[in-house]
């Protein structure tokens, strides 16, 4: 973690850190590597429907835990439990080593667990600075003259975004005018500013193009380097791999395992996610029905490739590049 310490010890950065520290509402950040969240055999059922069962993982400070899974795998249920939107029905959920059971998102927030939802929880017609402070506005004055401290909020928005490397022309512009990646970054910057210790990112790259995804991944890495624990939810292993330290795979509401990065390769990850056997069958079916189709041929080569294991130079080159840039 020496690189990250270097990064945060810049002169401009440290004054920023002080300000953030002063406004933090939750408990302080533990040293990097300490577990902030631990879940053990956690499960959730809605009536007779079991949405999630026996999921175990940890989120450490200064590390990124990736939750991977296809649509309907139980990712949203899992983050809803962590974010406090739903209470779990089985297993243990520990924050800082203490058993917890959230009944509202506010409780999670109070412990520094902040969620950046897919819809980003922004109000498109409102200016960037009003969105940044929405729900936690800074006020001055007293009694009936208590009013928004607009100048201060604008200045903080501008400088916080600049600290994350986002240079906006005008914080007064409606947030709806920003690009998808920029909005995502504003949402991340907001969570970081308001004292998040654990950042839950729900499919942050799902709706973005390649370049924008890269930008968002950079901010994920930046949040990690600030010492935050990050939970990165995705269905795209190529996005998760470069920033992740730990991978937890979900399929049909069950955990397929919880692996540190050192224990697996990207290709194993891809294959596990797709469910190797299923993918193979799909490719056979397609080849039978549409023998000449491009899709079928591609799928077949994909399956063959993943069988070969870790020897896919083209892919690993590409991802190395991203991970290089994300770890300055």
């Amino acid at each position: 973690m020496t690189e990250s310490e270097q990064l945060t010890s810049g002169a401009a950065q440290s004054s920023q850190e002080d300000e953030v520290e002063a406004l933090r509402s939750g408990p302080p950040l533990p040293p990097p590597g300490t577990a902030i969240i631990e879940v053990r055999d956690i499960g959730k059922s809605y009536g007779s429907v079991i949405a999630l069962r026996e999921v175990t993982t940890t989120v450490n400070a200064g590390e990124v835990t990736c939750v991977l899974g296809d649509n309907g795998a139980g990712k949203s249920t899992f983050i809803k439990i962590l974010a406090g939107a739903h209470a779990h029905s089985d297993g243990e959920f520990l924050v800082d080593g203490e058993k917890r059971r959230f009944s509202s998102p506010r409780e999670a927030l109070a412990l520094g667990i902040a969620t950046v939802y897919q819809d980003l929880a922004v109000v498109p017609l409102m200016p960037v600075w009003r969105n940044f402070f929405l729900g936690s506005e800074i006020t001055k004055g007293w009694g009936p003259f208590r009013r928004l401290d607009i100048a201060k909020m604008k200045a903080i928005t501008k400088s916080e975004l600049a600290a994350m490397g986002i240079d906006l022309r005008d914080v007064e512009q409606p947030i709806g005018t920003l690009s998808g990646g920029e909005r995502q970054c504003v949402a991340i910057a907001r969570a970081v500013y308001f004292g998040a210790r654990v950042l839950i990112l729900d499919e942050p790259t799902a709706a973005l193009g390649v370049r924008q995804s890269g930008v968002v991944l950079k901010y994920v890495a930046k949040a990690r380097d600030r010492g935050l624990g990050v939970i990165f939810i995705s269905h795209n292993p190529h996005h998760a791999w470069p920033v992740g330290d730990r991978f937890m795979l979900l399929r049909r509401g069950r955990s397929m395992g919880n692996f540190p990065k050192a224990e697996m390769t990207l290709d194993e990850l891809v294959q596990m996610m797709a469910g190797g056997a299923e993918l193979e069958q799909l490719s056979h079916e397609l080849a039978r029905q549409l023998p000449d189709s491009e899709v079928a041929r591609e799928l077949e080569s994909d399956v063959a490739e993943s069988h070969r294991g870790s020897e896919t130079p083209a892919q690993s080159d590409e991802t190395d590049e991203v991970s290089e840039s994300s770890r300055p």
């Binding site: 810049g10 819809d119 929880a121 498109p124 729900g135 009013r147 100048a151 200045a155 501008k158 005018t177």
Partner: protein
């Protein structure tokens, strides 16, 4: 220690202007304000009637439309706030009748103290407002439907219960009720200014400008609403719950409280207007305010409030009410059939909605 190559963040007490924001962007920002369209329209309508009719700009002629505009402005501002918060209140019109009837009957029929009567109708109004908000938030039924229900209930109660108690459908002889004078100071009084020195005053009997209490209440209400919307946390929340309710909830905005507050504000405004109309006209009828609920919405929309919520202004809604008052009286002074008013309102509503949508699309687009 590493040094950053990026320019230092511009964090001063004075927000600096980015060089990429040109001077003309400032003008653009003013033109993008929601109330600008209504201001231009109000000026055009004023000058049109001022020059095409003799009575419109005379002090005594203006007194009429200033009064009408004022009481509609109070409601339009409240309904405008509610619309910015993403909801409707169709019971707002009937509410002005209900509150007037409660206070009127208590004072004339039961001879109850004026302030007790006034406060009783306020409490009832706030309770109905709370109920509106509570039903909308708890059931998830659109406020259009919930308040349509409340509207019909109030309309029925205004007739049936009032007939039951006083055997007629309107409060009469209100000015001789004990305590009328005291209440009248607050709600029905007026000041009269001699504006005979104005160059265009041609008739000697039209030189007096009469400003009723309603106008002061309206001005106060507009200032208060604008302050709340632009400068307080509550205002921020109103824009947020109207713009994106789910997102607001996720970032910790008290959506329930904000919306209930808005419905109660509308009910409060209904109470003020009920009192103003009761003390000024010294009567309250079972049909008072019925049909006005749509006028309030039209005023707010003409003033730049989006029907879908999240955008608008209190000043704009008040300007919308001013336009309504001026057109209503201007048509009379111009000698047209007064029923043309509704046709004009319809056209204005459609025009305003289109302009608002255009403004909204522009606001959401990258500049």
């Amino acid at each position: 220690m590493t040094t950053t190559t990026a320019p230092p963040p511009t964090a001063g007490p004075e927000p600096e202007r980015d060089e990429r924001v040109g001077q003309h962007a400032r003008l653009g920002a003013i033109l993008r304000r929601p109330e600008v369209g209504a201001l231009v329209a109000a000026l055009l309508i004023f000058f049109y009637f001022a020059f095409s009719t003799t009575a419109f700009a005379q002090p005594s002629g203006a007194s009429t439309w200033i009064f009408t505009s004022s009481s509609f402005a109070i409601m339009a501002v409240a309904v405008g706030l509610l619309m910015i918060g993403g909801e409707f209140d169709l019971s707002a019109g009937a509410m002005t009748g209900t509150t007037g009837l409660i206070t009127g009957i208590m004072m004339t029929h039961w001879q109850i103290n004026v302030w007790v009567s006034v406060v009783t109708s306020l409490v009832v109004a706030l309770a109905i407002g709370f109920l509106n908000g509570f039903l909308v938030m708890k059931t998830g039924v659109p406020s259009f439907i919930v308040t349509l229900g409340t509207f019909f209930v109030l309309r029925g109660v205004n007739l049936a219960v009032v007939k039951q108690i006083i055997n007629q459908v309107s409060v009469v002889d209100f000015q001789s009720a004990p305590g009328f004078e005291a209440g009248n100071k607050l709600f029905g009084s007026f000041v009269r200014w001699d504006l005979g020195w104005l160059p265009w005053v041609s008739l000697p009997n039209s030189k007096n400008l009469t400003i009723y209490a309603a106008t002061w209440w309206a001005i106060g209400f507009v200032i208060l609403a604008t302050w709340i919307l632009q400068r307080t946390r509550a205002g921020n929340w109103i824009f947020a719950v109207g713009g994106a309710q789910q997102s607001s909830r996720q970032v910790g905005v008290p959506v329930f409280r904000t919306k209930i507050g808005l419905f109660m504000t509308t009910a409060f405004a209904g109470w003020i207007v009920g009192m103003l109309s009761l003390f000024k006209s010294t009567t309250a009828q079972s049909t008072t305010g019925i049909g006005a609920e749509f006028i309030y919405i039209i005023c707010a929309v003409v003033g730049g409030c989006l029907l879908t919520g999240g955008y608008g202004s209190a000043i704009g809604a008040a300007l919308g009410a001013l336009i309504y008052g001026m057109v209503g009286q201007g048509i009379v002074y111009a000698g047209w059939d007064s029923d043309w008013l509704y046709a004009v309102l319809g056209v204005m509503l459609l025009g305003a909605v289109m302009v608002n949508n255009w403004v909204k699309t522009r606001a959401e687009r990258v500049r």
